[in-house]
Amino acid sequence: MVPVISGVTCPVCGSFCDDIELVVKNNAITDVKNACAVGVAKFLNYTNHRHVIPLIRKNGELVETSLDEAVRKSAEILVDATYPILYGWSSTSCEAIRVGLELAEEVGGVIDNTSTICHGPSILSIQDIGISSCTLGQLRHRADIVIYWGSNPWSAHPRHIERYTAFSTGRFQATAWRGYLSRLGAILTKKRLMRAVNLVLRRDVSAPPGIDRRLPYSLFRKGRKMIVVDVRRTRSAELADYFLQVEPNSDYELLQAFRMLIRDEELDVDEVAGVPVEILEEVADIMIGCELGILFFGLGLTMTKGKLRNIDAALSLVRDLNQRTKFLIMPMRGHFNVTGANVVFTWQTGYPYAVDFSQGFPRYNPGETSMIDILCRGESDAGLIIASDPVAHFPREAAQNLVKNPLIVIDPEVTPTSLMADVVIPSAFVGIEVEGTAYRMDHVPLPLKKVVEPPENCLSDVEILQRILREARRIRRRYN
């Protein structure tokens, strides 16, 4: 009888599924149930490419060192810096983030989390417009129109559709799974036919690259429907009842146009974002006609031309829709605890990210106090990176300025960033080797479980940060 641990939360994406079952044999995870491909990969392979001994850079080379030495060096770097940056925080526990904020305050640094390069713009426009949102269960029970705009849940949040939206079943709404199966069948037969025809005729007669925009009947029936709006046909688009393909960088115009149409006003143009206005009018009618609609948006809106104003328009559209029906909107948050990072930042400092403590109190102005900008301007003189990999994900220019200065990395894995660091402190995996709290994309807090013991003298982020904080306080007291 092997022990099965149930109700485990999955420390990967913002869907933060909490129904994972793990089989653990002599302190190793041997089997994973209910998780998606990414989750399984995480639980089964998290030990790969792992380094468990602290490293410190001595004449150009990273060499092994003691934890105390690494902590001391880290504290020195931070205390000596005039404008240190502390970045990451989205893949660790809220408990660790709380200590991190105290550390940033102590050393007078700038602390920022990864929302700065995912949903930062969403937050900026929420601060201008507000947001009409909910928890995910509300949608499972009630939503009959599900729109994914510029987000690809199939790849980024694999179980999102099945657990919370179109393919889930709630008190007032049933799954749209059957409809999808029949659609899939049709698509497959079509493909097979094509292949046969092509073989016979020895030439490609498949439809030329044009786009069929007609709305399918399924959109007009009662019950759940799923619409995907994106610039390219994603995996998610294939699950949808309707895929609305838009020209790159014209989402803003499309959203604003919808705002007009739902108020039954006329447009002076015949087509928006490459889509004929008649089509848009039909889609607008479907939005107005729903019992409860939800618009999920992803980086396809926050990162493209217009950035925060794309979200501005999306939030306003949903707000306006509430004059006609009930409509809600939610950003598709990436890392499992990026929402938590925003939440903890906000209750301690009043601001969700990009917080500058350099003058002894929190200040906030993304564009000025945000990571990418500070790095591109080359203003910081030291950095601490925790549970994040900016060298892999920041634009080249920013990453280059990051590695120019003294760099501390706290991370369980070996990453491009840790390879570039001056001090590397390996930590235990939160949600696997240490417990904690994290927030799902809809702000529902859930516990992270400890299912196996961490490697010897591999501490949690919390303990590591507390040690650095204590050391930093000691050094500062010595200074004055």
Partner: protein
């Protein structure tokens, strides 16, 4: 040498997500992110075959990656590179006071790079980030 003007998108893929969990230094990760998903017709137009090296250039840098056929077409002149060190080389770092760089819809140019090899991660780090 044929060149192709395209709009570059970057983003998450399930393979990149999985690859990440095998470790950033793993073969799986390299396979999943050092690539450029293109419309088959665009690949034809470049006169190359799948898995050939291509060089993609933006105003902000250039990178050599493998060309792979996109499974969900058509998206002519729109190419996709998953998040990762290779995409980072050619992203637009300007945030226009929003804190957010532009990682999607970046104008780019693609050309075949038969002579050039797709760098391994350590090579890439050495070439672009090593401190003297």
């Amino acid at each position: 040498m044929p060149k192709l003007k395209v709009s570059l998108l970057t983003g998450r893929t399930i393979d990149q997500g999985k690859g990440k969990e095998f470790g950033k230094l793993s073969e799986e990760y390299w396979k999943s992110v050092a690539i450029c998903e293109m419309d088959p017709n665009d690949i034809k137009e470049l006169g190359i075959r799948e898995n050939d090296s291509i060089k993609i250039t933006t105003d902000f840098g250039s990178a050599v990656v493998r060309a792979v056929k996109s499974k969900r077409t058509p998206h002519p002149k729109v190419v996709f590179i998953p998040y990762g060190p290779w995409a980072s080389l050619i992203m637009n770092p300007r945030t226009h006071g929003t804190g957010m760089p532009s990682l999607k819809g970046i104008p780019a140019e693609i050309e075949p790079a038969p002579k050039e090899r797709v760098l391994s991660l350590p090579e890439l780090l050495k070439e672009h980030y090593a401190r003297e």
